[in-house]
C-alpha cells in the first residue's frame, strides 16, 4: 500500500514539473520583448537594463527556468504583469471560491449520478428511457450555455437566484449557498450524465455476474443485491469516473465562473489570458494541477480501500 502511494506522489511531482515547464516554455514564444512590454513607452534605458537583469531575460532558457523553479520552491510565484499584485496571494484568495464551486458539484453529481445510473438499470423501462434521454442531453449541452439558460430562467425571468456575484462562506453561509445554486447546477449536469453512464455499465456487469445469481438464489433482497453488492463491485469504475469528472468540472469552472462573475481561479486565468499576463497564468496552471494531484491521491487511497486484494 505504501508502495502505491509513493508511486503516486512521484508521478504527481513529475506532473507538476511538466506543467510548470510547459507554461514556462510557452512564454518564450511570445513575440516581442517582455521588458519593453512592461515598461511601455515610458522608462529610461537605465530602467530597461535593470528590468532585463531582474527578469534574467538575457540568459539561456534553462537558467531562466531554474531561476523560476527556485523562486517557486520558496513560495514566490512572481507578480502580475498587469497590476503588480503578487500571484501567490491572488491564488490564496481565489482558490476557496473555485473549491466552493467544485466540491459541492462533485458531491452532488456523485450522489445523483450513481442513483440515476442504478435506476436506469433496475427501474421499469419508461423511467430508464427518460433517464437515458436526460443523460444524453446533459452531456451534449455546453455548460456555459446551460448556465446562461439557467440565469435567463431563474435569475431574470423569475428572480429566484442572483445572476452574478459571490458571498464568502464566512460572512453569510445562506447567501453563499444561494449564490452558488445556479453555478453548481450548471456544472453538475454534464457530470451527472457521465457518472450515470459508468454506474449503469458497472451495474449491468455486476448484476449479470455469477455471484449475483448466487445471491438471488439464496434469497437476498433486491435492495441488498443492487445497492450493497452491485454498487460495491462497481465501486472502482465509479471512483475512476468521479476523478475524471472532477477534472472536467475543473475545466468547466472556467466558463461557469465567467458567466456568474465568481472571483475564482477560472475567471483569473481568463483575464490573464486576454492580458498575456504570463506569471498569473503559470500560477493558476500550477494551482489547478495541484488540485488535480491532490484529487488523484485521494482517489488512489479510495481504490486501496475498495479493493480487498490490495489490503491483504
Amino acid at each position: 500500500m505504501t508502495g502505491l502511494i509513493t508511486r503516486r506522489i512521484v508521478v504527481s511531482i513529475v506532473v507538476l514539473i511538466v506543467v510548470s515547464f510547459i507554461t514556462f516554455i510557452v512564454q518564450s514564444f511570445i513575440p516581442g520583448d517582455p521588458a519593453r512590454a512592461i515598461l511601455g513607452t515610458t522608462g529610461t534605458p537605465q530602467q530597461y537594463h535593470e528590468l532585463v537583469k531582474t527578469l534574467h531575460l538575457n540568459e539561456p532558457v534553462a537558467v531562466q527556468y531554474l531561476e523560476y523553479m527556485s523562486h517557486l520552491l520558496r513560495g514566490d510565484l512572481g507578480s502580475s504583469l498587469f497590476n503588480n499584485e503578487p500571484v501567490a496571494s491572488q491564488l490564496l484568495q481565489r482558490t476557496p471560491v473555485t473549491l466552493s464551486l467544485l466540491v459541492p458539484s462533485t458531491i452532488l453529481l456523485a450522489v445523483i449520478g450513481v442513483v440515476l445510473g442504478t435506476l436506469s438499470v433496475t427501474a421499469p423501462r419508461p423511467i430508464a428511457r427518460i433517464i437515458d434521454v436526460f443523460s444524453l442531453l446533459g452531456l451534449a449541452m455546453p455548460n456555459f450555455w446551460l448556465a446562461l439558460l439557467l440565469v435567463s430562467a431563474f435569475a431574470i425571468a423569475i428572480p429566484l437566484f442572483p445572476a452574478v456575484g459571490y458571498t464568502p462562506l464566512a460572512s453569510d453561509p445562506v447567501a453563499w449557498a444561494i449564490g452558488l445554486a445556479l453555478p453548481v447546477a450548471a456544472l453538475t449536469v454534464a457530470g451527472i450524465a457521465n457518472v450515470a453512464k459508468i454506474t449503469r455499465d458497472g451495474m449491468l456487469e455486476s448484476l449479470n455476474s455469477d455471484y449475483v445469481r448466487t445471491l438471488r438464489a439464496s434469497g437476498f433482497s433486491s435492495a441488498s443485491i443492487v445497492w450493497k453488492h452491485g454498487l460495491r463491485n462497481s465501486g472502482i469504475s465509479i471512483v475512476t469516473i468521479l476523478g475524471i469528472t472532477f477534472i472536467g468540472a475543473l475545466s468547466g469552472s472556467v466558463y461557469v465562473e465567467d458567466v456568474f462573475a465568481l472571483p475564482g481561479l477560472g475567471s483569473l486565468i481568463v483575464t490573464a489570458t486576454n492580458q498575456h499576463d504570463i506569471p498569473v497564468i503559470q500560477g493558476v496552471a500550477l494551482d489547478f494541477t495541484l488540485i488535480v494531484v491532490v484529487l488523484n491521491l485521494i482517489t488512489d487511497v479510495v481504490y486501496i480501500m475498495l479493493n480487498p486484494k490490495t489490503r491483504r
Binding site: V14, I22, T23, V26, F29, P124, L136, L137, L139, A140, M141, P142, F144, W145, L148, I156, A157, A193, N194, I198, D201, L204, L207, N208, S209, D210, Y211, T214, L215, R216, A217, S218, G219, F220, S221, R232, N233, S237, T240, I244, I247, G248, A249, L250, S251, V254, Y255, V259, I269, A272, T273, H276, I278, I281, V284, A285, F288, P308, K309, R312
Partner: protein
Amino acid sequence: MTIDEVGLADPSAKRVGREGSAGSEGSSLRGLVAGIVGRPIAFGSAIFLIAIILACLAAPLIAPYDPLHQNLSEAMMLPSPAHILGTDDLGRDVFSRLLYGGQPAFLGVLVGSLACFLVGVPLGLVAGYGGRKLDSVISAVGDLLLSIPSIVVILAILAVFNHNIAAPMATLGILTSGGLLRVVRAVTLEARDQLYVRAAKVSGLGPFRILFRHILPAVAGPALVQLGIFAGVALTLQAGLGFLGLDVPPPNPSWGNMIGEAAHVISNFPWLLVPSGGIVALTTLAFGLLSDGVHDTLSNARKAISIGTRRSTHAVRGVPARSQGAGADSEASTVEAPVLDIADLRVSFGAGKVAVAGVSLACSAGEIVGLVGESGSGKSVTSLACLGLLPGNATVTAQRLAVNGVDVIGFSERQFRDIRGSEIGYISQEPMSSLDPSFTVGSILREAVRRHEPRLDRRQREQRVLQLLAEVQLPSPEVTVRKYSFELSGGMAQRVCIALALAGRPKLLIADEPTTALDVTVQADILDLLRQLRDRERLTIVLVTHDLAVVADICERVIVLQNGKVVEQASTDDLFSSPQHDYTKSLIAATPNILVA
C-alpha cells in the same frame, strides 16, 4: 462531457476484444455502415452531421444574407419569414451567421481529431504490440497527459497564439490522445494473441505489415468510437473558447462568440441564446449518438437483466389444474408428497428457441436424483425455472411446477424471493466466481443468516455462521470467515457455496454441475459431503450433470434429457445395467470406465 473526460475507462475496449473481429457485425467497413443504417437514431445523427457540415461549408452559396451586414432598424427580431432565425443585436441575420459560424467550429474539430488520431493510434499500436517496456513507457506518458488539466495549457497557448483556431485544438488533441491510446492499446493487445495474427507472424510477415493488415482493422472501430466522443468534446471546447472571446475575432461569427454575444443581451433578448447554443448542443448530441451507434454495432448490446420488474413470464398453465392435479395427488397421497413436482414444463426464449419441450418429473424427500444430458438438453434451464432465475426473455409454462407442494407458476419476483434459500437452494458450477469478491465469506453468510433467521442476535448469528461452515466440513471456520473468495481453493469455495445454499434450511437443493470445475480428488470429497448432508437433513438433491461417473457415484435415480424432453427415467442401477433409450445407450458408451456396483 468536458475536455478532460475523453479518456474514460471504456468497457467497449474489453468487450470488442472478447468478441473477436471475425464474424461480428462491425468487422468490415460495409458491416459498419450497414450497422449504422440499421439503427435509426445513429443513422439520423449521421445524416444530420453530414447535412450541417455541408451547409456550413456551402455558406457563401446558401446564406441568405452577408453575415457581417448590420441593420440596426431590424435589430433583435424574433424569427420571421425574412429572417428564419431572427436577427441579433446589430440587426445581422442569425441564420447566415450560424452557417458561417460553423466553419471555425468544424475546422477546430477536424484539427483536434487529426492531432488526437495521429498521436493516439500509432502510440497505442506500438504500446500494444511492441513489448512490455515500450508499453509501460508509452502508457505512463498517456496517463500523464490525461492528468494535466488541459484547459490551463490551452489558455496558456492562447495567450501566445491568440485568435488562432488550430493551435489550441491541436493541443487538446494531443493532451487527450491518452484516452484513444488506451483503447487502441487494449484492442491491439487482444488482437495480437488472435490466431490469425500468430499465423501471420509465423508465415514471416514483418511487424509493420501485421500491424497495418491485421491489427489496424480491429482497431478502427473502437478508435472511431473514441474519436466520435472526442469530436463532441472538441466542439464544446471550441465553442467555449469562442464564448470567452478567444477564437475568431469579431465581427466574424463563430458559434462560440455568438453565444457570448447572446449573453450580453440576455436580459433584453434571450431568444438569441437558443439558435447559438442550440446548434452546438444538437451537433454534440449527434456526434455522441453516432459514436454510440458505432459502439453498439461493434459489440452486441447487453440484454436486460431480470431483477426488479423485468422478470420472465411464468405463465399460467394451459390446462385447468383440478382435473389433472386430482389424479396425481391421489397417487402421491399414498406415498409422501413430492418435494419437487414438475408436470409438462415448457420453456422458450423469444420466438422459436425452445429450451424445454414438456418435461415431467418428481422427486421425493431425501432422494438424490441425477438430471443428465449434454449441453443444450434443457437440464440447467429446468432447474433454474424452479428458482425463477431465468433471464427476462424466457417464457415458462407448465401444468404444475411445485416446490414443497407450492406451485410456483405465475409467481412474482417477490414470491420467488420468499422461497429461494428457505425452500429451495442452489449451487452452481463455478464456486470461485459464485461468491461476491468484495465481501468476506463471513459477511456474505451473516447476511444470509440475517435474511432467513432475522430474530437471532449478533452473537447467535455468528455462531450459526460458524456452525454452517463446520457442517460443510471446512477445517477452521473462524479463519475462513475472514477470507475473500480469491483466497480460497476451488474445493473450499464450493463448500462455502453449499453452506450459503443451506443457510435457510431448504428441503430441496439444486446442484448444477457442482464438481465440473473441481479437481478429481476434490470432486469425490464434495460428493461425499452432499451425501452426508442428505443423510443428516433428509435433503432432496437434484444433481444436474453431463458426467455419468458422478451419477454413478451418488445418484439413486436418473432422469435423462435430450433436446428438452425426458427420454428415460430409471434407478441408477437399472439405467446402467439395462438402458432402454438409444440416447441413453450412446451416453453410457461415450463415458469411459463406469463401474456399476
